[in-house]
């Protein structure tokens, strides 16, 4: 009998490569521009922050009698944010961990961590989707409402945020003597789904990140910018399916100024990885490990005038 590779036993034909393949991980963008707030333990589960409203200006001079003017009323508003608890876990039999050459618990920890961070991001996304005011893009020409995003739409939102005294998130990237680059102004941040990339690339004067004069102050999740807005993209950016005038998908692009929204973590409830060896959880024969994660988080808009959902089709 001829010995060929087809007659070799499977153990000879196959080599188990110990280097694991990559697992897709989503970009985390929605908490990037949130103000982080810590809720101390033993002080309730609703974080209240307050803001004093502006006072009226007083350009009229006092009369010669020097009569005291009427007083103004100082007004305060409160914003409440409830913290909730999130947790998940996996169960591995001890047989798996002592049979398998691969350190499965290590991979479990990595995947749990990824799921936790992506969950934190999605919670903020859903919060912005439900509570940020909406502005439809109208500058495009695809005949839908909203239309696909154009430069005029981005400028309209920048104007709106400027009218509302919203502060920029990032500082200007000034021009440099580098061929093919273009300066970027002080900017608000836009959080978008990756399906918006072709729409961004078609915006007049859109500057891709690689065309910035200096990329030292950028993030890997940043796609580019135009005038006074910089765009950050994620696969789990917000989409409302079949929701436009013509029934097409709408991309919800959250444009935020500084201190427009926040994320609240409880001091004693920060993200934790929890490993329990065999013997816990009604496991008298010590047959099962568990690996879990938990975190406490709340999220809310702190000033509704400083964040806008700029809705676009064309994706």
């Amino acid at each position: 009998m001829t010995v060929s590779i087809s007659t070799m036993p499977p153990q000879i034909q196959q080599r188990y490569n110990g280097k694991l393949l990559s697992t897709p991980e989503h970009n985390l963008i929605h908490n990037l521009f949130a103000v982080p707030v810590e809720l101390p333990d033993n002080q309730g589960y609703i974080d209240r922050q307050s803001r004093y409203d502006r006072l009226d200006l007083f350009p009229v001079p006092l009369d010669d009698a020097q009569t005291n003017p009427p007083s103004q009323q100082l007004n305060r508003v409160d914003v409440d944010c409830r913290v909730r608890v999130y947790a998940t876990y996996i169960v591995l039999t001890r047989q798996v961990t002592i049979t398998n050459e691969d350190p499965v618990l290590n991979s479990a920890a990595a995947r749990l961590g990824q799921a936790m961070r992506e969950t934190q991001d999605v919670l903020q996304r859903d919060n912005l989707e439900s509570s940020a005011s909406v502005v439809n893009c109208v500058g495009g020409d695809n005949g839908d409402l909203p239309t696909e995003m154009q430069l005029s739409d981005v400028d309209d939102v920048v104007t709106l945020l400027q009218n509302n005294s919203g502060e920029y998130i990032t500082n200007m990237i000034p021009g440099e003597l580098k061929i093919g680059t273009s300066p970027i102004g002080d900017a608000y941040a836009m959080m978008s789904n990756t399906r918006m990339i072709p729409v961004f690339n078609n915006i007049t004067n859109f500057t891709r990140k690689f065309q910035y004069p200096n990329v030292s102050q950028t993030l890997s999740v940043e796609w580019g910018g135009v005038n006074n807005t910089r765009m950050f993209v994620s696969e789990q950016g917000s989409i409302t399916p079949n929701a436009s005038l013509s029934g097409n998908d709408i991309a919800n692009n959250f444009v935020t100024a500084k201190e427009a929204y926040k994320v609240v973590w409880q001091a004693g409830g920060k993200a934790r990885f929890i490993y329990l060896p065999p013997g816990y959880n009604n496991d008298p024969c010590m047959l099962r490990h568990t690996a879990g994660v938990s975190f406490y988080q709340g999220q809310c808009i702190t000033n509704d005038l400083w964040i806008v959902n700029l809705r676009s089709t064309g994706i």
Binding site: I46, R48, R51, V77, D78, V79, D80, C81, R82, R84, A87, T88, V91, V122, L123, D126, N127, E129, S130, S131, A132, S133, V134, V135, N136, V138, L145, N164, P241, N242, A243, S244, L245, S246, G247, N281, N282, D283, R288, G298, Q299, C300, I301, D304, L305
Partner: protein, 355 residues
């Protein structure tokens, strides 16, 4: 460890009007979907002279919306039991952060000119009273294309009524002649912005919405009412103004809030027309902040002792729900009695088929 865990359970009451029952939704606060769901009628089990269903169950190998169960016949002493399969409107479960999607259904008319907002549909699908629907591709009333409404009445395979829109008092210049109607299940992040159906001109403005609203007394809300195109006017004076909610109405047909904003001198609220250039954003109310709870709807007197509204906290109210469809309680002649009590349980397998 057990091979399964009971992850939730309890009782619910059935609502029946005539021979039509409402679907029942129960909360199953579980990260993972249940694998086995069962419900049994406490009131009806063995009840004399009352033909009705007494048990329904669903197992994860079955299609969502189906159910298998037992109906008992009408008999004075020994009702007979028969097995029954529901192919639709049975039992289904989902979590509200990732709800099921539904196919768009065709509509042939929307009575906006009369202000009744009855949507004619030869196929109403699974749309039931209380469901949310999005209108798209609306011909003749393009100004509400993309809007979301809550349904207040359904005549199966004939029409649905957008009663919250109708009770707002708004009317359009013409009826719609075609539209797509898609049932949606909203996310339950709270508070949520809401579409404005109408705003009255009054010293304390009443703001109507297209479906039940989540706002609470004392909450501060903010208005977004953009300009219309082609010379049309609307209540843009209220744009970006903030107001305190003085009272809330959420009845079966009316959804509104009264706010401490005097709109009596403002321009009347209006939608764009269908023919107008629709380069507009929708008029909405967005949640802004928490305010002092007013005394009996007063705009100036605070509740004594001062009340702090905690109900308006930004919150994640998403959950997993189990829905027992109306067919569980009103299939053919086996109709439950209004107010019947049922028990239910949901289970999760630790191992399913040895896996």
């Amino acid at each position: 460890m057990l091979p399964f865990q009971m992850i939730a359970g309890g009782t619910f009451t059935v609502s029946v009007s005539g021979s039509t029952a409402s679907a029942v939704e129960v909360v199953c606060q579980s990260q993972n979907p249940p694998d086995f769901i069962v419900a049994k009628s406490i009131t009806g089990w063995g009840e004399a002279n009352q033909a009705q269903a007494v048990e329904w169950w669903w197992e994860r190998s079955m299609a969502q919306g189906t159910a298998k169960g037992i109906q008992q016949s009408s008999h004075a002493t020994a009702p007979a039991m028969n097995t029954k399969f529901l192919s639709s409107n049975g039992i289904f479960t989902y979590d509200t952060t990732n709800p099921p999607t539904f196919t768009a259904l065709a509509a042939t008319a929307i009575t906006g000119s009369a202000g009744t907002f009855v949507v004619s549909m030869t196929n109403t699908g699974s749309i039931a009273v209380g469901d949310w629907v999005r209108l798209t591709s609306v011909v003749g009333e393009r100004q509400i294309s993309g809007y979301v409404f809550q349904v207040t009445a359904v005549t199966v395979n004939t029409s649905i009524t957008l009663g919250y829109m109708a009770s707002s008092g708004i009317t359009f210049g013409a009826d719609a002649t075609a539209a797509q109607v898609t049932k949606i299940i909203p996310n339950r992040m709270y508070p949520r912005w809401a579409y404005i159906a109408n705003i009255t001109q009054a010293t304390q403005a009443v703001v109507y919405f297209t479906g039940k609203n989540d706002f609470t007394v004392g909450e501060i809300v903010s208005f977004r009412v953009p300009e219309l195109q082609n010379g049309l006017t609307t209540m843009t004076q209220i744009n970006n103004l903030q107001g305190r909610v003085l009272s809330v109405t959420n009845s079966s047909t009316v959804s509104s809030i009264t706010v401490d904003i005097d709109t009596s001198g403002f321009t009347a609220f209006a939608f764009s027309t269908s023919l107008a250039q629709l380069e507009v954003s929708p008029a909405i109310v967005v949640p802004s902040s928490s305010g002092v709870v007013p005394y009996n709807g007063s705009a100036t007197i605070a509740q004594q002792p001062p009340g702090t509204n905690l109900l308006d906290s930004f919150d994640n109210r998403n959950t997993r729900v189990i829905v027992f469809g109306h067919s569980c309680f009103d299939t053919s002649s086996f109709v439950s009695t209004d107010g019947d009590t049922w028990m239910w349980q949901a289970y999760k397998y630790d191992q399913y088929n040895g896996q």
